[in-house]
């Protein structure tokens, strides 16, 4: 280190050199501040870790001492030197060179002031499940405009289809539908259902979002939701998405009675008029004449300052065919082959009072009341070999709930649960599971199920009880699979549009697992709910409110400040060939004219919109006359470094 210190003293322009073990610590920063003031420094180079680690820290320290923060550079002698080179001598020599390069650069740095950009105080929320609804209401109630985009014909998401919720067993719809109605009627909320995000332009504070409103074939303004159309629709054979195929719906339909908006939509693949150009009954019946068979998708653009992604989850699709090669599909459980092997969400519909069986426990095959029901947890979850490595987190709880609800309705029935571990972390969760076992007599087997077969009307569930250490076989009437939670389909496309990161399983990446749990690496875009990771309702709601509060913090400012390390054009030498304009990934460069006082055209020139420029510098590379340059990485700065490579 002393060697390095000595060498640094000799570099052109170096006024003083300080050596401190923890320069990023308070006392370390104090040294920087003190030297800046004492020596009237015009530039600082910190030779320590990666600029990604602490450049902000040191720039702030400099600013505190009255030095423009952009006159601070770093030399990365840790991650890119001492940590990777064992040859002490060579590493030291390299460190000295790295510092010389940074000193050379900083001599060419210019003081820069943060750029101020206007802020559109309107948020886009993608996904109208419970998380999206919560975030929407929080922002809207704070007095800011919300644009809520939902892919399905109604908001409500998965929660709208649930029966009762653990651990309190309150009716899911009873608590959700009032919030749905509130969203539908809220003056600050613009609701786009049956719509998807087509494209996203712009940047934090100034996004321009294109929303595709899918053709509904029903005029939302004229329609009164009377129901004449869907009661009379002759096409009745389409499996209901809302009931997960346990019941059918008509071609013109509202997904469920409490849908918001309570307006139908025509399924163009099922509608006889749209497929065969026959029928048209709904149109004839419709008093307000709201049916429009010529309806087309519409693209609407919404200007927003922030985005919250709440696209939720889907279930691991049990069965043979999988979208990912590494998923086996659990064909041995016979899902899809045996009508009475269903997944958790289907069971939710069966026990739901508003479900296809009005809450009567009937098995799909013959509507008989199942006397023995087997619940399997971890179908796909925690299974590196055949499924996903992670824990889907909510299955233990809802499986216990399912067993409990079943027993409440079928008192003489048997509820068997096969589990790996019971994960009941959460307020009143453990107690809830104990209740299922001790009060309601659910039979828990610690072990996995190897195979399910069907023999004379019974489902033979072969598993093991690892505690008892013996095989277990249960002859069941119904099997419910707690299949793993996966991010909703299409989330990756959305992630690309928003430039968001995601993990190997497609869950969106927060920008810090502990300290920035709802922020993403794209400024102005936030995440909440199951699109980030599996979570239950209270967690999703809490995270939604967190995302909302982040947006509100942003909206509490009158304008945004941005990093001034952006491109600028030397309009004197610009030849206006617009190569920069053509290659700018952000459309941040525009054609401009220079005119004299009398308004006569002097010349054309390219001009950078500092509000849009993100500072990639592609324009610099394509400018033949180098009439465009990039603050922070200017031609002079870079070439000064290169000249020091000798």
């Amino acid at each position: 280190m002393d060697q390095v210190t000595e060498a640094a003293k000799g570099f052109p322009g170096v006024r003083c050199v300080a050596n401190y073990k923890y320069i990023c610590s308070d006392p370390g920063q104090a040294i920087i501040r003190e030297r800046i003031e004492a020596e009237k420094l015009e530039g600082v180079v910190v030779a320590s870790c990666s600029p990604h680690m602490h450049l902000k820290t040191f720039r702030a320290a400099a600013e505190a001492a009255g030095l423009n923060p952009y006159l601070v550079e770093m030399a990365n002698i840790r991650e890119q030197c001492s940590w990777v080179h064992h040859d002490k001598e060579k590493a030291t020599a390299k460190a000295i060179e790295l510092i010389r390069l940074s000193v050379a650069k900083v001599l060419r740095n210019r003081p820069l002031d943060a750029i101020r950009v206007p802020l559109t105080k309107r948020v886009l929320i993608v996904g109208g499940g419970v998380a999206g609804i919560q975030a929407a209401l929080d922002v809207a109630n704070a007095g800011f405009a919300v644009v809520l985009v939902e892919r399905d014909p109604s908001i409500g998401g998965k929660m709208a289809g649930l029966s009762e919720t653990f651990p309190t067993l309150d009716c899911s719809q009873c608590i959700l539908t009032p919030r749905m109605v509130e969203v539908g009627q809220h003056p600050n909320i613009t609701l786009h259902t049956y719509s998807e995000v087509e494209a996203v332009d712009g940047f934090v504070g100034n996004f321009e979002v294109t929303v595709r409103k899918k053709a509904r074939f029903v005029d939302m303004d004229k329609c009164t939701g009377c129901g004449d159309c869907w009661t009379k629709c002759p096409s009745k054979k389409t499996p209901s998405e809302f009931d997960y195929g346990l019941a059918n719906r008509t071609a013109i339909y509202v997904p469920f009675p409490q849908a918001v908006p309570a307006r139908p939509v025509i399924d163009k693949d099922a509608c006889i008029k749209l497929t065969k150009d026959k029928c048209g009954v709904c149109q004839k019946l419709c008093q307000p004449d709201a049916i429009n068979f010529d309806d087309q998708d519409q693209l609407v653009t919404e200007e927003v300052g922030a985005v919250i992604v709440a696209t939720g989850y889907q279930l691991y699709s049990i069965g043979q065919d999988q979208d990912e090669a590494f998923l086996s599909g659990y064909g041995e459980y016979g899902y899809g082959r045996y009508k009475d092997v269903i997944n958790g969400l289907q069971f939710e519909r069966i026990v739901s009072a508003s479900g296809p069986t009005n809450g009567e426990i009937q098995r799909p095959s013959d509507a008989a009341e199942p006397k023995t029901v087997v619940f399997l947890s971890c179908v796909g979850s925690r299974d590196n070999a055949k499924g996903l490595s992670y824990c889907s987190k909510i299955c233990c709880m809802y499986t216990a709930k399912h067993a409990m609800l079943y027993k409440h309705k079928v008192h003489d029935g048997e509820a068997h649960v096969f589990y790996m571990d019971i994960r009941a972390g959460g307020k009143n969760y453990e107690e809830f599971v104990r209740r299922a076992i001790e009060q309601d007599g659910a039979i828990y087997h610690r072990g996995r199920v190897s195979k399910i077969t069907q023999e004379n009307g019974k489902l033979i569930v072969r598993g093991a009880d690892t505690l008892a250490g013996k095989p277990v076989t249960v002859e069941a009437d119904l099997v419910v699979l707690a299949s793993a939670i996966r991010p909703a389909a299409g989330v990756l496309e959305l992630a690309r549009k928003l430039k968001l990161g995601y993990d190997a399983f497609g869950f969106l990446s927060e920008s810090h697992p502990k300290l920035r749990p709802v922020e993403t690496n794209t400024a102005g875009v936030f995440v909440c709910g199951a699109c980030q990771a599996p979570k239950d309702i209270p967690e999703a709601v809490a995270q939604a409110s967190a995302a909302a509060s982040k947006v509100l913090i942003m909206f509490s400012q009158s304008e945004l400040t941005r990093d001034p390390e952006v491109a600028n054009v030397n309009e004197l030498t610009c030849a206006a060939c617009y190569a920069c304009l053509r290659s700018c990934p952000y459309g941040a460069i525009e054609e401009a004219e220079i005119r004299d006082r009398k308004g006569n055209l002097i010349k054309h020139t390219a001009r950078v919109n500092p509000g849009l420029c993100m500072g990639c510098g592609t324009c610099v590379a394509v400018c033949p006359s180098k009439s465009v340059d990039l603050e922070g990485f200017s031609e002079q700065q870079i070439y000064e470094m290169v000249k020091n490579l000798v």
């Binding site: 030498t573 030849a575 206006a576 060939c577 053509r582 290659s583 054309h604 031609e635 002079q636 070439y639």
Partner: protein
């Protein structure tokens, strides 16, 4: 043939000037029959007889369209050969000219120079493609790109060391008179990077190092833009075969992006556009 064209040319220009459709005609003049043709700027109808057309009309006159001295003369008519015409397309793509403000007189060209210039060997634009008025008729050759790149292929047959040695010899002669730059329609920057010194990207000295840096820069700035008029090569007092460098980039654009400069105004320029499937077999 050429003499008829010359006559039609004079008539056309006389008409344009008399009807005040244009203020100046940028064309070719010649002092002596065997002397070289050179650019002339005719502003009065009675001077149109100074215009000539023959196979000594080398210059790519489009280089003048971006010059202030010429712009100040008013609305121009310009005489172009097929290859020059391609330059017009690029200049328009790059917003340097407004075609509505220019009358383009195309002349059918059988080739220039005696013996014919190298570029003419594989010419497939004997007829200007975008001219407002075209004089004469020469069937366009087929786009024989093999032939077009034959000279380059022959050169590339040498080893890299031989190639480097060759260029070193060439660049040792370069005096940096910048005739290659000034004569080029695409070099319209009002301040060339080599004339900038903060920082000095390219040594201004006419030594091998500085000359290599200069010629790499000149050539690469032509990537996907050079229309192969070969004027840079023709005018080089040191006889440096810049054509080879231009060809290598022209072929690269052709081979990898199916792009030929100045052939299609609507085509997305090579630099400033991309395809996700662009090749990357050379990237680790």
């Amino acid at each position: 043939m050429t003499s008829d064209i010359q006559e039609q040319l004079r008539q056309t220009c006389r008409r344009l000037l008399e009807e005040e459709k244009v203020d100046v005609v940028i064309g070719y003049g010649q002092s002596t029959a065997d002397g070289p043709a050179y650019p002339v700027f005719i502003t009065a109808p009675q001077d149109v007889d100074r215009l000539v057309w023959n196979d000594r009309c080398f210059n790519n006159l489009t280089a003048y369209l971006t010059r202030d001295e010429v712009k100040s003369l008013g609305k121009p008519a310009i005489v172009v050969k097929g290859c020059d015409d391609r330059a017009l397309v690029v200049l328009e793509q790059e917003s340097q000219i407004n075609r509505d403000e220019i009358v383009v007189i195309g002349v059918a060209c059988e080739g220039v120079g005696e013996p014919r210039a190298a570029k003419c060997a594989a010419c497939d634009v004997h007829m200007p493609r975008t001219a407002d008025e075209t004089l004469g008729e020469v069937p366009n050759g087929p786009a024989d790109l093999e032939a077009a790149y034959a000279e380059l292929d022959a050169f590339m047959a040498q080893s890299p060391e031989e190639r480097m040695a060759y260029w070193r010899g060439e660049f040792e002669r370069c005096v940096k008179c910048y005739a290659c730059r000034e004569v080029c329609p695409m070099c319209y920057c009002n301040r060339c990077i080599v004339d900038k010194n903060r920082p000095t990207v390219i040594d201004t000295s006419a030594h091998v190092k500085g000359n290599l840096a200069w010629h790499v820069t000149r050539a690469f700035h032509q990537a996907g833009r050079c229309v192969g008029c070969d004027e840079c090569t023709r005018v080089c007092p040191a006889g440096i075969n810049l054509r080879l460098l231009n060809l290598s980039l022209a072929r690269a654009a052709d081979k990898h992006f199916d792009y030929r400069a100045g052939m299609d105004k609507e085509a997305a320029p090579v630099i400033g556009a991309y395809r996700e499937e662009d090749k990357e077999d050379f990237i680790l």
